[in-house]
Amino acid sequence: MVAWWLIAAATSQDAYNTAMAFASHPIGTIMIFGWSVALFYHLSNGIRHLFWDTGRLFKIENAYRAGYVVLLSTVLLTAAAWYCALSGTSEYAPPVQDQNLVEAVTPKGNKS
């Protein structure tokens, strides 16, 4: 999907618009959501594997505990990312008319 996005942007404006329309379509959004869950799970569990590579967390109860930490961090990272994505902090979101709302929305920082 990232590859499609990049290649479409380089190809033409129409191709880019098609890619963006797909991403904002419910099916495309569900696919991106699934991808984000898989990505964060892979990231968290990958870090667990890197700990194992250094010889840590090999006791069975620690391995289990790290497994639950992985699941928890997957949920938290996914939730944080989608909270940021859906709370309208994007500087590219359609222009907001109400000036008070603009000020309320813009200074928010990112968290990931």
Partner: protein
């Protein structure tokens, strides 16, 4: 299962090992997988943050964003690290779970060609926009 070293008169242990993974290339593969994994930790956070901040961007806004050297370089780094990591990971899956010799070879070659082609297409696209 048909094994290649049973078919010929030559039955040296080297012929048995060659091409089956454990022929002086395992450590490099393993290390590259870890190095790309470590590199991808910050790159993934950068990518997710960037995608979120680019939500709803028009074509012009997106190309302007990608023209910035930091964004272009980070994107190329992400493409190289992630696709290299994907090649290595998919290779392990194929080596471990495909037991037909010819199909395994086909998948291993196809795996490398597919991700190499995808990577070149992505990097070309980034450079076309950024330069």
């Amino acid at each position: 299962m048909k094994l290649k070293w049973n078919d010929s008169g030559m039955k040296s242990p080297l012929a048995r090992a060659r091409g089956l993974g454990s022929a002086h290339e395992g450590t490099e593969h393993w290390m590259a997988q870890r190095v790309t994994a470590v590199a991808l930790i910050p790159l993934v956070f950068w990518l997710v943050f960037s995608i979120i901040s680019l939500k709803g961007a028009s074509h012009a806004q997106f190309t302007t964003w990608l023209e910035h050297p930091i964004n272009a370089v980070m994107m190329i780094l992400f493409i190289i690290a992630s696709l290299y990591h994907a090649v290595l990971g998919a290779q392990v899956v194929v080596e471990d779970y495909i037991h037909s010799e010819w199909f395994k070879t086909l998948k291993l070659i196809g795996n490398k060609l597919f991700f190499f082609g995808l990577g070149i297409a992505c990097i070309f696209s980034i450079l076309k926009i950024a330069l």
